[in-house]
């Protein structure tokens, strides 16, 4: 299963190679042409065989949020920054894997016994955290880790409850998994399957990929934040985990076309594909870069509600994932160019 394997891979903004290589292996015998550009995007093309065919680009990003080693202390601990947005509260008491060698490390925190009165229950700043790989001192740490090494969450793919999946990096290996399933498809337009780099650091991969492909239409397969969880009232839900594929009116980067949304909704209804609209204007994804490229590209996002996103334990519902895959496949059959 693509999703399980993809979430276990370690690909971070600026170093997506392990994910890209996996994807290349899966599509090399299926797609007509495959390219890798300078920023690390993987671009596969399935030709229609027609002259002057229109172009549709479907994309998902390969990178996951991660940590980035910025300093090795005299005692052999690793100070870090984040690659992409991570709320530091999910880092305390978690396991990570550091660098290409996947050196195990842990992020501890001052024992509760040693916390002073004002410290207890307080939020923790990233400056206070560090990775412990057990090194005796700086010298031993430097044998295994160097500045600029990345660290990813050590979290296993787990299915639980009523069709839920927990894993790291669901954002956006889930989109990559959905995209992989299009590798056999041919349409009467040229289909560009674009696996982008560096979404989490500011849509960097999509920015150049969109200009290279310059499509007539773009679809972004993504995950999106979801607060359908404890401590929130239904009226405040952004999306519902298990509520169907998510369509967006707007996020922080893109106002989506009402006309296209209507057409997508029509297709969803036609095939009884469950869908929902995101009820907050928050987050952003590769659509933000794509829709402003080359004088403007029609762009739509199909997302999956993800609880605890950007944490080691992000959660999606399988039915939503199925709905996303179904919707993109059906919509490609009917897209008006």
């Amino acid at each position: 299963m693509y999703l399980k394997e993809l979430t276990s891979l370690r690909g971070v903004p600026g170093y997506e190679a392990p994910v890209r290589e996996y994807i290349f292996e899966k599509i090399k015998d299926k797609c007509d042409e495959i390219y890798r550009d300078n920023i690390g995007n993987l671009i596969a093309v399935n030709r229609s065989g027609k002259e002057n065919a229109k172009k549709v680009m479907v994309c998902a990003h390969m990178d996951e949020v991660a940590l980035f080693v910025t300093k090795i202390t005299e005692e052999g601990f690793l100070k870090f920054d984040t690659l992409g947005g991570i709320d530091t509260s999910v880092l305390v008491s978690k396991k990570v894997l550091v660098g290409d060698m996947a050196i195990p490390g842990v992020i501890g925190a001052k024992a509760i016994h040693l916390q002073k009165k004002g410290e207890r229950g307080k939020g923790i700043e990233i400056e206070e955290l560090y990775i412990d790989i057990g090194a005796k001192d700086k010298k031993e740490a430097e044998k295994k880790v160097q500045l600029g090494d990345y660290a990813t969450f050590d979290s296993e793919y787990t299915e639980f409850g009523n069709g839920f999946i927990k894993a790291k990096a669901l954002d956006d290996r889930l989109g990559c998994a959905a995209l992989l399933e299009l590798a056999d498809c041919r349409y009467d337009f040229d289909l560009y399957l674009v696996f982008t780099a560096q979404e989490e650091t500011g849509l960097r991969g999509a920015t150049v990929a969109a200009k290279r492909v310059n499509p007539d239409f773009a679809i972004v397969l993504e995950t999106t934040a979801c607060n359908d969880t404890f401590g929130y009232l239904e009226k405040d839900y952004s999306t519902i985990c298990g509520g169907g594929v998510v369509l967006l009116f707007a996020d922080m980067r893109t106002y989506y076309s009402k006309e296209i949304l209507k057409d997508v909704e029509r297709v969803a209804k036609k095939y009884n594909i469950p869908y929902q609209f995101k009820k907050t204007v928050s987050g952003g994804n590769d659509a933000g870069a794509i829709h402003l490229s080359c004088g403007g590209i029609k762009t739509i996002t199909m997302s999956v509600a993800t609880k605890y996103i950007h944490s080691p334990s992000s959660v999606i519902n399988k039915n939503d994932f199925e709905a996303q895959k179904m919707l993109v496949q059906k919509y490609l059959q009917e897209v008006k160019l």
Partner: protein, 349 residues
């Protein structure tokens, strides 16, 4: 033994609910002991008898329980609210993976808000237990079938080996102590001691040193060696009393500790070149040693500690070198122990 420690670490088992870990401990104790019992409180006690069964008893002790959560209620959407068992730092909870032990074990994640949807003032504002619940991905009715208020919730984190013989995992406080007892027994194998040895793996330390109260009453020792963990040095430990990992075992001195036992341990460490530090504790050591000392008519008590970073998190980290040093010191101190020194001293008759 590192494999055994990892197995104990992964096993769950929190104060009052040690049943998921005690079977492993019983199995390990049976390898070395003449007899292994479980008392009313759930303490597991192994005995190695002296030739003369009427000889006095010496106890070595560590606690088996870890910290965790207990089911408080199930809300209308199936989220499981909880209370804490032992000193749980709320900061370790967001996005933590747990196992809820109802009629069967079910997997869950501690729900946390998405950073994308948080207001700026919510971020880093800290986390409160009452705002958290376990997400098991089931409806209220489904959860209710399996889970009842009062069920145990333990952390699902597997132990992991780090560099330099270090190990990280949950409940190393005080499963590492338990393992050090077993390693000491292994070292003593084939050697006859002039006293009965009671090996106590006590329950409910984290909620008030309770198991040790009944276990040490039952074992009725004249001397005891208690093994627990102490704080390992970290970049943020500041002026607190902490010990660097890899620097050996820690021998405590102070009113909770019998001066003679302390001197024997220190001398034994010197003679056997066992690395150690001394912790001076002016009162309550915060360990089972506190209640063992006043068991029955009084027990000459020694406390050995293993330095541990990030105590009461799921990534407690220690050096196996320190566990080994502790085990070696337990074994050799027992070999140097003359229990007659500790019998009631009649000053005038």
């Amino acid at each position: 033994m590192i494999k055994n420690l990892m197995e104990l670490s992964n096993a769950g088992g929190i104060s009052g609910f040690e049943y998921t870990v005690t079977p492993f401990i019983e199995k390990l104790l049976k390898k070395y002991c003449d007899e292994v019992n479980k008392d009313i409180s759930g303490n597991v006690i192994g005995y190695i008898y002296a030739e003369d069964k009427n000889a006095p008893t010496v106890m070595i002790e560590a606690h088996t329980d870890g910290i965790g959560l207990m089911v408080k209620d199930i809300d209308e959407r199936g989220y499981i609210t909880f209370v804490t068992i032992g000193g749980v730092d709320p900061r370790i909870l967001p996005a933590a993976e747990v196992v809820v032990c109802g009629k069967r074990e079910i997997y869950g994640i501690i729900a946390t808000a998405s950073p994308h949807l948080m207001a700026a003032d919510e971020r880093n504002a800290g986390v409160k237990i009452e705002n958290m619940a376990v997400d098991v991905g089931m409806t209220h009715d489904e959860v209710k079938e399996i889970v009842t208020p009062g069920d145990m919730i333990y952390f699902k984190t597997d132990a992991v080996k780090l560099l330099d013989k270090k190990l990280s995992g949950k409940y190393l406080d005080d499963r590492a102590g338990v393992i050090s007892l077993l390693m000491a027994l292994r070292e003593l194998k084939g050697k006859k001691l002039p006293f009965n040895l009671a090996v106590v793996c006590a329950v409910q330390e984290e909620v008030g040193l309770r198991g040790a109260v009944t276990a040490s009453f039952g074992a009725d020792p004249i001397c005891a060696i208690v093994v627990d963990v102490c704080h390992g040095t970290t970049p943020d430990s500041g002026s607190a009393t902490t010990f660097k990992l890899g620097t050996g075992t820690v021998i405590t001195c102070g009113p909770n500790i019998d001066r003679r036992m302390f001197e024997i341990a220190k001398k034994t460490a010197e003679e056997n070149k066992i690395k150690y530090s001394i912790e001076a504790e002016s009162g309550h050591t915060g360990t089972d040693a506190w209640v063992v000392q006043t068991t029955r008519l009084g027990v000459a008590t020694l406390l050995l500690s293993i330095p541990l970073r990030y105590m009461h998190t799921t990534v407690e980290t220690l050096s196996m070198k320190d566990v080994e040093a502790t085990a070696k010191l337990i074994a050799n101190t027992l070999l140097n122990l003359n229990t007659e020194e500790f019998s009631l001293c009649t000053l005038k008759n």
